[in-house]
Each structure stands twice: as C-alpha cells, then as structure tokens.
Symmetry: C2
Subunit: 510 residues, 2 copies
C-alpha cells in the first residue's frame, strides 16, 4: 500500500517538521503501509529562503534524515532535502528503505513556483540513482514532463510538489497531470504540500492517478490528509475555491504563530462585511473583535449595517467615535496647515486615526489587526497608507471588487449573513460629506475590466483601448497603477488566490 | 575613438530613455566618435520587471531601434533590448552600424544581479552573430568569464552591465574585470549603468581596461558621464563609498519623480541627525523641512540637539508638541483599555501620532517623508509600524548602527555639522521616562556584531555562540530577527548599500 502524507509544515522549523514526519512514519508502520510519500520541502518547510544560505541548516537536514532512516524497516519513505553535492547545493529527492538510501534524484530543472528565486540557492543537477528494480521514477513536479519525454522506462512515478494555489490554474493543473499520466501510460503519485504560508496558500489535493489518466485517490484540498478514508471535497466554482483557500490562509496564519484572536474595523461597507464571516469561520466567533469607528462623515446606515453584520455572527464589538481625536489632530496641525482648504490631508488624518486606534487595541490585547482592502483599491492606490492599509494580513488583497461581491453572495447563499444593504449600497470611504468611490475612480465594473486586462493579461494602454474602452479612462487607470506602487510596497501581505497577485506575481521594482 | 555613454535611465520609460540615447548618438557624431557603447537596459530602463510580460512593450523596443538605426551613419552603436526569437523572449545585445544590425549576441547565462528573477522573463540563448572582422567580442557582464574561457578569438570585448552597487563588492569587482583582461590578454570596454532606482543604486564607474589589466579610462561613479574629460573621483573608504551612494540614491529618487522637497522628523538622536546633512547635500537646504515633535518624555537636550542640527545646516523647521494629541488618543481608547498599565501600546501611540503628523504635512504640502531608521533596528524590529517606520524612502535602512556613527564622523570630518551631543549620548526612543534603547536591546556593539555574523555571513545561532558571544543574547537577537519580519514587509524601501539588504538580498518569505 502506498500512501501520501499530505502535511502542513512550518517554514525553516526543522524540529517541528521532523516531529510531524516521524509521527506519520510511525503511524504508517502501524497500518502496514509499504511506501510513504511526503510533499516537497516537508522537512525544511515551504516557502524557504535565506536559511538555505546557512551551511549548518543544510547539514542539519541531513542529520534528521539519518535519524529518520532508523524507522524505515520494511517501509519506503520518499522525501526531499537541500544537499551539498560537490560543494554545490542541490535539491535532492531521497528514497529511504530498510535504513538505507536506496535511490535519489536531484532536481534537474529548477523550481516552478511563484516568486521564489531558487536559482539563488540551488544548482540544477542531473545526478540520480534510480530504483529501476521497483519500476518507480522520481521527479519534482516541475521536471516531470521533461523526464517523461526523455524516457518511459518507469511505469510509476513519484512526484513531489509544493504548489501555491491560484484559482485560475487549479483546474488545468489537475488536468495536466491526468493528461501526462494518460499520454505516457504511467501511474502517478503526486504529493503536494498543503496550508497557508502568509501570502501563499498551498493547495494540497494530492492525487494518485492511473495510467489511463483517472484519479484513483484524491486527497483533500486546503487541509492535511493522511491515512484518511474521508472523501475529499472538491470545490465546484471559482468563488468556492477562493472561499476555501481564504479560510485556510487565515486559519494557518494564526495557528502557525500561536495566535488566536483577530480585530478588525467594521465600516458597514462591503469589504469589512465580507472579511468578518471569513474570519469567524476560520477562528471561531469568540476570537473575533469588531471595532466601529464612526466620524462626523459617517452616515446613519454605516453604523446600522456594521452593527448588523456583527450581530448576525454574534461577535463582540465596540463603538469608538473618532471625532474628538480628529479635532485635536486638526488643531495640532493648524499652526502649520494655516487656512489651506480641507483636502486629502484631512481625509487621510481620519483614516490614520482609525488605523492608530485599531493598532492600539492590537498592541494592548495581542489581537492581530486584519486588513480589509481589496485588489482593485490596491491597484489604483485608493487607500490611505498607515490608515486603512494597516494590518497583519490583507484578507481580500488579491480579490477585485467584483469578486468581493461574488464572495458576499456566496456567503449569503443560504441566509443573510452579510447585511444586504452592505451589498446594495454604493461604495464610499466616507471621509468627506457625501463622498462616493466613484467621485475619484471610474465605476468599479469599468475599473475591474481594465485592471483584469492589464494585470492578468499584461495588455498595454493601447491594446486595452482597442478593446473598446474610453482612452481617457484607460490612461487614468494605468497611470494610477504605475504611480501607486509605493503604497503597495508598504501594505499588509495579502492572501494570494490568483496568478497576478501584487508583490508576488507582479513585481514591485524596489 | 570608442566612447561609453554612461547614462541614467527611467524604468520602463522608453520615450524618455530613447530621447537620451538619441541625444548621445547625435553628440557622438559631432565629436567624430567611431563607436558608442550604452550600458545594459539603457532603452528599457533598469530595473525592469512586469513590462517584459507585455508583448507590445517588447515590440516597441524594436521600433525604437529601427528609428535609431537611421542615425548610425559612420557610427557603431552598441546597446541591448528584449527581443522575441522563435516566440521566446531573449535578452539581445545589438551592434548597429551604417543603418544595419551588423552583429548581435543573446544573453546565454542569465542575469547576475540582486533580487531580479529574470528567469521569469528571459530565456537564455546561445544565438549570436559576431563581428569577427572587427575583432570585437560582445557579452553581458554575467557571461563574460565563460565566454572568455571558451574562446579567445577576440582581442577586444564590449561588455554591458547594470550593476547595483554594494560597498562590500565594489573593490573586488573592479579587480575582477582587470584580472580577466590581464589573464586573457584582452581589452575590455565595460559599460555600466548609473543612478538611483529607489532601493538599488547603480554604481556607474564604467571602465576601459587594457589587455595588461590597467584601467585606461575611468568613468565617474554615481553620476552620468559621457564625452567628459573630468577625472573621475574614486571614493577612498567604505564609508565614503556609502556616502556617495546615498547622495546619489536620494537625488535620483526625487529627480526621477519630479519631486523637490523632503520632510523629516528631527528627534535630536543620531539617526535623523545623520539623515539631515545627506538630504541637504542631495536636494539643497531650501528643499528640506525639519519637524520637531516633542512629547512629555522628551528630554531638554533632545530639542536643543535637534534645533542645533537644523541651524547648523540652515534649514526651516517647526516644533509641534504631541502631548495634547496623545492625551486625546489616550482618552479615546480609555473605554476599551480600562485600567490596564501603560505599556507598549501607549508607547506606540506616540510614535504613530508623530507618523500621522509627518504624513499630514507630506500630504498637505507634497513633501516626501523620509524615514530615518537603521538596519540594526529593522533587523530586530525596534521601531513602531506606521509610526517611526513611516516614509517614502529609508535613507539609513541598510546601515548598521555602527555605520551610522561612522557616517556621522565622516560628515563631521571638517566641522561640526551633526551636533556632537547627538553622537555622544546614549540612543533612546524617549517613549517613556528615562528610556534607553539598551533597556530592550543588547548594547549596539554586541547587537551589530551578532547581526553581521548572521545577516552578512549566514551563521547560525550555534555558530555565532562558538565565536564567543553569550548564548542567551544570541538566541534573543536571532529570535527578534525572525519574529520581526512582518514589520520589515511593510516598511519604507531602503537605499541599498550592502549585499545583505532586507527585502532584496535577504528575502521575506511572503
């Protein structure tokens, strides 16, 4: 019997990761498993970066393998480590069995995941010693296709991966491996890591695929899975994929750090109203604190809607008016501002007072402040640096505004959790009388359409205009994107769910 | 006559970069230059990232080359572009002459600079068509050594680079190229880009090296140079290199964005006292505004020292006490804080009020807020997120505390510019009565020594203890480094001067 131990690991925490691996090995032996496969980077944790520059760290990895070898009596264990070979660091896949390394294979073509420049650390290497007697080929996911094209001498392939989820690629990825299996008539055991790693959300969803390209066994998405007989649930729509990924991302961000409680500002607007049920689902309602921060520009319905969203979920909340603080800050700055008219400076003051209050509560009680801004806002810089852009983790930072609405409707599919009024009303920052987002930005449907063409498909201004959008509006949007990169550099890391996430897929040039 | 046009370019601004290239070509023709060499990425600007994903951007580069060709009568022009070859994007070096492309060479081994994961964009390629009749080899700096080892059929080499300065590597880099020239008995024309690009500071310092390894012509460091007869000044010490680099980085950050004026908080401490003369040197004293933000915990000497540092340089300053604002914020939070004792939450409130005031002034007047925190603080998270970590650019963000002192002494080498008291007194954040940095941190000499071993040499806790440091202190420091990465993700980009800069050389794992 061959099993995949689809585990969630801690980046660079060898001790904890080893304990988890060790426990899986022990359990596997009890259940008479013959072969146990771990996802890529199970020992080092993933993602991993500067630790790979430490000589001692690499040596320690080897020490753990030597310890693990003792427990491989009558059991094959497959996992990977960073390894020095001829003084170069290579990424090595190991086949442990009966206290010996029976086979190994070095990554021959680099690592195929977002953002991580592994060429800094690893040299590619063609070194391998392959267990032909077992009919098993060994590969990392990124090199599988090449290896299959080169030789089909193996009937079965063990494939290790640590793939960062994005909803755009997930379905074609599943299809890709099934097609490879079918085309080359090989059986594939694909072991994929799982769990939230700040921005990156590793999907899990390991698979055993037959040589006809059928999925024989499907491991769960977004949760650990090992020796489980539960039938894995597969999300049915883009928005369901996103929903499950976000819950996983929030849950692991807190859990991995030993954190429990979150605080967030509730404005009555759609963004915070959508973040709230996600966080409650991930952490439990007792671990979430809502703060309402009304100013003189807040409308009646804002407070009502915010209270309702808190009450719908049964969480604690406080109301802290910011008017007095704003007046004092205004007076403090009066000697230098003089009689200059009220403008962005005063608007930002309000957002920053809110940020300061939320961070104060975070500091005093140890709650993590969650950021509620979205990708459309981040793209055009519609947000106040050190104000509403504060927070430890941006839950919706990789969702366009239209996706925030889709998520709202998904969450409300059975009953009203998010107040319908938060969904229906026109978005507003409420930093001056009767302000609407559309005063400064194009309507969100146009904005989102243009942003998608630019960010997801890399189309230029000229090419987007050719699709039928007003040249003036396109120019304005693309200028905003360019000129607001300084804000994106300094905002909270976002949960990545797409393949065009800021600071990861799309690079800020320092 | 062969000339290098050591120019400073704007990232992704083809129009402006082309104009500059065009002007150099015109001037070269007037002066009867026979060959004109541009540094790497002169047309696209450097660094460059997501634009390389745009098909149209790459096509436009070619259009500019076609326009440029018209001006190559009796003149050889060498420069590089991104180029589609067999549907793959390659990084191509071009030899233009008499309206034709006479030779070209594709980058065969990747790009050798910090942080930029060019494997995302460019495929390596062995394609070249080489002008043997001229005895010139063509190469990017990263592939020169390999090419020289393969064949020495060329007597002269044209080498293009865009190298990001760091003070640790600069001298060995100069030596490296001289040694290559000597060893292979070839003449080298090394064209290197110049100028500040937010964090990265391209060094310039292009060279013409003889086949004996002697520098025949040295172009200037940290400033543009073309057809100049000025003798290039070469800094004499690490701290002089750093000083010149920082001035360049500040100057270009403002100049490239059409910005003029800077604002910064003056605390009377060493960090802001060192930033001030750097900014005054880069922007002129009329373009710098100092803000003093005393609280009830500020000591007399803090205000005196801050005023003196402003007066020494003749800049404008304002004093804005924050006590009233702190009292109001304290009262605002009282209903939720209750009778809990004064702690970090209240300390951070003060830092955030200061950040808010400075950002308010920045927003109202359009001045850029400069950040004054240093690398030692950033490493251990000694700073308030959204407070003293605010700003558009962190001037000292890549300097350890001891280097800040070295810089202070360098600046004061002729007369007292930085008040001696700011240099002499013990560092303090002054957020509670009689606070000293050493209350929460090890003494800076120990802290800096441990940080250097860890960050610059990648030594582990165990290895650092073996060097003779107290195990408890080492553990504490390394834990602080690990646990404060969430702050470094959100702080202002720093001017990079070392090869262990946060967020560039050292990676935040998302």
């Amino acid at each position: 019997m061959t099993e995949i131990a689809q585990i969630h690991t801690l980046s660079a925490n060898l001790d904890e990761n080893y304990k988890k691996i060790r426990k899986c090995v022990k359990d596997a032996q009890k259940k008479s498993v013959k072969m146990l496969i771990f996802p890529a980077f199970s020992l080092t944790g993933y993602p991993i970066a500067d630790e790979l520059k430490s000589h001692e760290f690499v040596i320690q990895c080897w020490d753990y393998i030597e310890r693990l070898l003792k427990y491989t009596e009558n059991l094959t264990v497959v996992l990977d480590i960073p390894f020095f070979w001829k003084k170069k660091l290579v990424h090595r896949l190991l086949w442990l069995e009966n206290r010996k390394i029976k086979a190994f294979s070095d990554n021959s073509c680099g690592w195929n995941d977002v953002g991580l420049n592994f060429e800094r650390y690893f040299k590619t290497s063609e070194q391998f010693q392959s267990p032909k007697i077992f009919n098993f080929g060994l590969a990392f996911a990124s090199e599988l296709e090449k290896k299959l094209e080169k030789s089909c001498e193996f009937e079965k392939w063990i494939v290790l991966d640590a793939w960062s989820f994005d909803y755009k690629t997930i379905n074609s990825r599943i299809q890709y491996f099934c097609n490879l299996a079918k085309h080359h008539r090989v059986e594939i055991f694909l072991a994929n890591a799982v769990g939230g790693q700040v921005s990156l959300i590793l999907s899990g969803g390991s698979m055993h695929i037959s040589s006809e390209g059928k999925i024989l066994k499907q491991y769960s998405y977004f949760s650990e899975s090992f020796l489980s007989s539960k039938i894995a649930k597969i999300p049915k729509s883009d928005i369901e994929w996103i929903y499950e990924a976000l819950i996983c991302g929030i849950r692991d961000y807190f859990y991995d750090r030993g954190l429990k409680r979150a605080v967030l500002g509730l404005s009555g607007g759609i963004d915070s109203a959508v973040v709230l049920p996600l966080v409650v689902e991930a952490l439990g309602r007792k671990n979430v604190l809502g703060i309402l921060l009304p100013s003189q520009y807040s409308s009646e319905h804002s407070i009502e809607d915010a209270v309702k969203s808190a009450d719908n979920l049964g969480i604690d909340y406080h109301i802290i008016p910011i008017e007095q603080a704003f007046q004092t800050m205004y007076q403090t700055l009066l000697p230098i501002f003089g009689k200059r008219p009220f403008n962005l400076a005063e608007e930002n003051l309000q957002a920053r007072i809110r940020g300061m209050i939320l961070m104060g509560i975070s500091n005093k009680f140890g709650h993590v402040l969650l950021n509620t801004s979205n990708k459309s806002e981040a793209a055009v810089g519609y947000g106040t640096l050190y104000g509403d852009l504060c927070g430890g983790l941006a839950i919706l930072g990789d969702l366009y505004k239209f996706q925030v609405y889709e998520l709202a409707n998904f969450i409300n599919r059975k009953r009203e959790i998010i107040p319908q009024n938060s969904i229906n009303k026109a978005p507003s920052a409420e930093l001056r009388p009767n302000q609407k987002d559309s005063d400064s930005l194009p309507e969100y449907d146009v904005l989102d359409a243009v942003l998608q063409l630019h960010l997801d498909r890399n189309l230029s201004e000229h090419e987007i205009v050719e699709k039928g959008f007003a040249p003036k509006i396109v120019k304005k949007i693309l200028n905003l994107v360019r000129n607001s990169s300084y804000k994106r550099r300094q905002t909270a890391p976002q949960l990545r769910v797409s393949n065009s996430a800021f600071n990861i897929d799309r690079i800020n040039v320092f």
